[in-house]
Symmetry: C7
Subunit: 75 residues, 7 copies
């Protein structure tokens, strides 16, 4: 296995804004405040988007890793 | 892994009101009375919401962690 | 982890009437006669409900934990 | 955990007629001839039911535990 | 656990004709040429059936155990 | 367990043309160039088929084992 | 097991352009910048395609391995 692992890219994104696509096709956007090796993670100032429209604002959310399709992280 | 883990955010929310989105798109809201590392948890004064409308009141419920999409926790 | 775990709430409900929502949206109601750490459980005098209407009566049933969404337990 | 476990209720039902609901909503009814801790099990004289109507007769079947929703067992 | 396990019933069916229902509702019928404890198995002279009609003939197939609903085995 | 295991049948098919049905009902056909015990595998000259029609050509693909329904292997 | 494993083919594709089909039928295309043994991986310059049309551009994304159907890798 290469030294640079995908999960490290998530850790590097701590305190940055990320977007997360869930299996139910909803997208969450917010500041990444914690994460673990299962991709469980918490966001602050979290918004739920549907087709790029803000559908709801939630403050802080804990998202369960096993239902995540992908996470957009800063370059 | 960073020291502050997502599951700790759930423990910090004990005795607070949380909202929980399940895979079947229903939302539960209630007071968090216990949780474990799989995100299994119990709520008291639990309400089931659908599109922000209260659909049912259940008293105490035990929610199975593996069917949770996300949990809204206090800031 | 806090000392009081969600699965303990299920054990405390032994011999009580509980309602169980399954992934296929059906609800079972009956007396909880046994449970294990995977939330596998048995009910006696079990009824299957659909939209609060009794749809079938089954006597004793064994419900597989991994298909449970939530369990309503006595306060 | 209590001494009496759900899986023991299944073992007690060996040689009895049981009904089994699968995730695809079909029900199998037959004589329970073996079972294991994953709820894998075999039935003899197995019938497949749909809405209480016998849809097919299969003789002996091996049912995979992870696709079982519930099992009706004798009281 | 009882001595006679469900997976043994599958081994006993080696070299016999079995029918296998998959999660996508298709049925495979063929001669069982190997199996393992996860219910992975191989068939020779395999046919795919849909509503009892032969839909395709495949020769030898390897079927992944975790997508099997049930297996009809000889009495 | 019998000595001849299903996964061995896959290894025996290395360098042969195989067809693979995925959970999303698409079929891949190509030359099997590697496989592991989870049925993860690689194909060269891979084609994606839909209802026996070639839908796309991909060159080399890595297919994740847990989404495979079945694999047609040479007799 | 043969010496050449499928996951090695993914490592060999590091720094190359790959296309990834997810369970929700979307395809991601981008430069593979990291991967692990669960097929978790990161892409840079990632585009999301639908029916070969670019639907969105994301910069860097982390894709969760368990929702991947297949990965097109360079020959």
């Amino acid at each position: 296995m290469p030294e640079k692992l995908p999960i490290k890219a998530l850790e590097t994104a701590l305190d940055d804004i990320v977007s997360i696509k869930l299996k139910d096709q909803r997208v969450f956007r917010g500041r990444l405040t914690s994460c673990d090796m299962y991709m469980n993670l918490t966001l602050s100032s979290a918004e739920e988007l549907e087709e790029d429209r803000v559908r709801a604002k939630y403050g802080s959310v804990l998202i369960r890793g096993n239902n995540i399709l992908w996470i957009q992280i800063p370059d």
